[in-house]
Symmetry: C2
Subunit: 637 residues, 2 copies
Amino acid sequence: MPYGYNGKILRVDLTTGAMKTEEPGEIVYRTYLGGGGLASYYLLRELKPGIDPLSADNILIFASNVISGAPIAGMTRFTVAAKSPLTGAYGEAEAGGFWGPELKFAGFDAVIITGKAEKPSYLWINDGKAEIRSAEKIWGLETGPAQEMIREELREKRARVALIGPGGENLVRYACVVNELKHVNGRTGMGAVMGSKNLKAVAVRGTKKMEMHDPEKLREMSKNLTELISQHDPNKVLHKMGTSNLVVPLNNQGILPTHNFRTGFFAGAEKISGEQMVATILKGEESCYACSVRCKRAVEVSSGPYATSEKHKYGGPEYETLGSLGSLLCIDDLEAISKGNELCNRYTLDTISAGVAIGFAMECYEKGIITQADTEGIEFRFGNPEAMVKGIEWIALRRPGLGDLLADGVKIAAARIGKGSEKFSLHIKGQELPMHDPRGKVGLALSYAASPTGADHVRAPHDTAFQAPGSNMERIAPLGILEPIPARELGPRKARNFTYLQFIWSLYESLGVCNFVAGPVWALSLTRLVEVVQTITGWETSLWELMKVGERTVTMARIFNLREGFGRKDDTLPERLFEPLESGALQGVGIDHGEFEDLLTLYYEAMGWDPKDGVPTRGKLAELNLYWLDEFVKDRR
Amino acid sequence: MPYGYNGKILRVDLTTGAMKTEEPGEIVYRTYLGGGGLASYYLLRELKPGIDPLSADNILIFASNVISGAPIAGMTRFTVAAKSPLTGAYGEAEAGGFWGPELKFAGFDAVIITGKAEKPSYLWINDGKAEIRSAEKIWGLETGPAQEMIREELREKRARVALIGPGGENLVRYACVVNELKHVNGRTGMGAVMGSKNLKAVAVRGTKKMEMHDPEKLREMSKNLTELISQHDPNKVLHKMGTSNLVVPLNNQGILPTHNFRTGFFAGAEKISGEQMVATILKGEESCYACSVRCKRAVEVSSGPYATSEKHKYGGPEYETLGSLGSLLCIDDLEAISKGNELCNRYTLDTISAGVAIGFAMECYEKGIITQADTEGIEFRFGNPEAMVKGIEWIALRRPGLGDLLADGVKIAAARIGKGSEKFSLHIKGQELPMHDPRGKVGLALSYAASPTGADHVRAPHDTAFQAPGSNMERIAPLGILEPIPARELGPRKARNFTYLQFIWSLYESLGVCNFVAGPVWALSLTRLVEVVQTITGWETSLWELMKVGERTVTMARIFNLREGFGRKDDTLPERLFEPLESGALQGVGIDHGEFEDLLTLYYEAMGWDPKDGVPTRGKLAELNLYWLDEFVKDRR
């Protein structure tokens, strides 16, 4: 070993049942790290372009990384990646919880799954061994009972299970994957890919301790980080409210998505806020492996039409869900939203896409494109919680009619029903918009448009984090970003900031790092992140090397999409975001189309991509050590 | 102060005599650091394009940086920069010694000199104050007596004096600037710019201790670095032989420039080697401020035609000089070379350009283009030391005829005499080739061609440093370069390596870091360099931020040159390097023209420059925080 890390990859062919283990070698690990980086590497090498994402030809990758599993806060996330059935583009989603570290303890960094099982199956990975088992008895079950039955069958209560419910089985294009029933690989429909492969679950158990270069130093760093977390969040906002703390401030800023993005102000915001949740239905805080933040919610509604499942085992709504099943739909009933959240976790639906799909239906209903004849008599109007809860069930079960229609996502749905409904389908590249409005933070417009997975709010920190002098600026100073930029400024400075910041978040996705613990948002500074990688792997790495992994990964996803036929025309925003907000603090504010297009050009060029279609130049591929991918894009230049 | 460093710039207008001090502010320092970075920043802001470099319109900058002056080995170098009278392009040269730290002790980071003094003058900077003084009595003196007279006049024996001799006064286009009579800002004719401004010298004295963020940690790091220097050079090769250690190995590799680059093998190599120098004329080793390497030579020839000046006060020849005044001219007389070196330091001529100019004359003589009628009867043949020594004197004094002709550099000389002599003029952009042959290390072909200052061997570490697995690879691993690449491989991997490595060396030029102490060549690793900057300035910086300063600086120099009309056509090699070497280990080896051009294209693209003329894209300018320079290049796209 020239440097100091190696790990194992498990390969599973569901068609033949063949399995094998391989060691890609340290240079592959150091070049791609894990998560999104490692997954892109294998997908580009092995996935044929043009395949149907719901066919046996798709390749599904579960990937941890070189640092996850170490006992330190905020580094537990893992990636599920494949070609997305929602977008036809690169698909990827991360989740926290315990599954990622458990895979490491079981002796693997990643699992590459090809083919399709003849019958419902699940994968059981136990301390270096793997087995494909029948899932015929659990197929059709919701996630809670399915997980229970798997643990019983394996006689292993401590098995960590990443699995799908009926949403995934029914190939809802935005079905998610869930572990511990509440940690979700939410976006781009990875649950549908599992379903299409007849793969109900991947259960893992491992007892191996992770090998580290300097375990003692890591222990010290871990202790230190826990202290820093307390210091950086003295009011324990994330602990007390989780992400739900965002509802009220975003509403005050005029960018809480409401009425299907027609406005950023919701009169009922306080009723669905984190404060309200704490005062009413919150039963406790939950955590991921080794983390002291405990940002996850556990809620319980004990009675009434929206009573939740016993023992609040499906967690509680994040900010995104409070938006997508709440303000977006003008629903101010926190109990209904919590029920909707629970249903999504039981069925494995992405709450963002599900909410936006229902919002689309509600606006169509408002405009008379959909009528009570389509909704089994239910009033599908904005503000009606019953419509939302029913909608989720119909989608998950692909109930013929509206459920089946919405299960394909708003892009396909709008194309199918026509009549001007495209205008109400808020998506980019087919993926539904998250609950952050770029009209108040324009860097996000670029972030959404350029995201390889379609609309995605976790491609880079949002502009609002760095718009004023103060402590946050210090956190990104190691990137050379020394001056604050107003959240609504477009142009060269914004292009620069986004370009750099996306590398960091792309890196987080390859290292399983959580945005709430890592800088620039939180306690783990960029300098410390470099040290952590060094301490665990033994590599004398640097922020340069790690940023370049981030850049490499962004570029690989771009190439994946170029190969599938995507181009500049797809890097845009839904019409509505160019229009003015109808009310609230930013009433009248829209995004200027010309300025947006120029920002996109600057970004392409900053990335070393041509302005015409965002195709990386040969030299840029060389620079990123990606020249092997030139053959995939040379015809696009 | 949001971060922690500020410093002062002295402005001197020689035309009016006005002087003032200004503080550019911390963000300018952190963005440009010093040296080449800071100088480019000011030149681009203030120098008008198209001016005559030898007119009062040129701007001459002496720049130290944010770390120099700290008591730690290998960080003492300073930059002299201006528009080059040799190339008409960006001009810049670094020197070690004591002058740079002394400027810091005197309270300044840089001196910006504009205009032209009416009469010969020198500048005296003494503990925060500055004064323009008459140099009428010392004008015309060689550097030794001039320095002495200045120190006497100032009654300050410890004044550090950067000055010119007759070469600079006579506007030899490759006149250098010298401090302590032996530390030389050698290339691009900065001495001629001093001469053109009637500026004989800049004398500095300071007693202020440098302020540092963490002086105790710096002391510890300094001690540690000194130990590492011993460990990394257990045989003390650089201490015992200095750069002269290269003569024999390069000859063995077949790339010791000989016979005006017709071959890379010199039969007399051992006679002019470091080993020979140690065994005969070496009198001692000398050092720069705070450095334990002591790589500088002091030689003495006590008698004979080439007897050197008393007390070996002009130092001794570096490898470059052993090449340019030795093997290149087929001269195997070490005493003559030492004399030539001394003369160059007395007159302030760059030894590389002087040697190549003489080599040009010798080849013209060989071909009958120059005859004894032009050489006052001296046989100007290869191998004749008398021709070399006379040639240097004639050039420095611009003796009418051959001396005056060669004083303008080989490009202008060849254009003037014609008759096919262009083929013997070994230069790029007008600057003469250094003593490293790209035919044995092809990355250097790119390095030479792309260098903004014309042919330059210190733009990036040479390919030979990283061609085999082993310890050197570990030193550049923090850049993400993990695999060795053969020295003679062209193509994408070489483009990547050069692109990254040039950022590091560009950074060294902005931080005054010496290649012999810093990684990748020596004891100071990249990680430690980041720590040093952090310890001195208090900035939480990173290798990313510092590499980006390197990239920014390379790009600024590119823009300087584009603004002056340079383009892709100028980024090439002299014809001879495409031709095969005539003898030695690489006999028959040339550089493939097509492969070279493709490497150049890959490099441009890796830099975010268009392949047509190497013009940075708008997005790349934005990314580097250089969008303010767009106006200078937008007409070139």
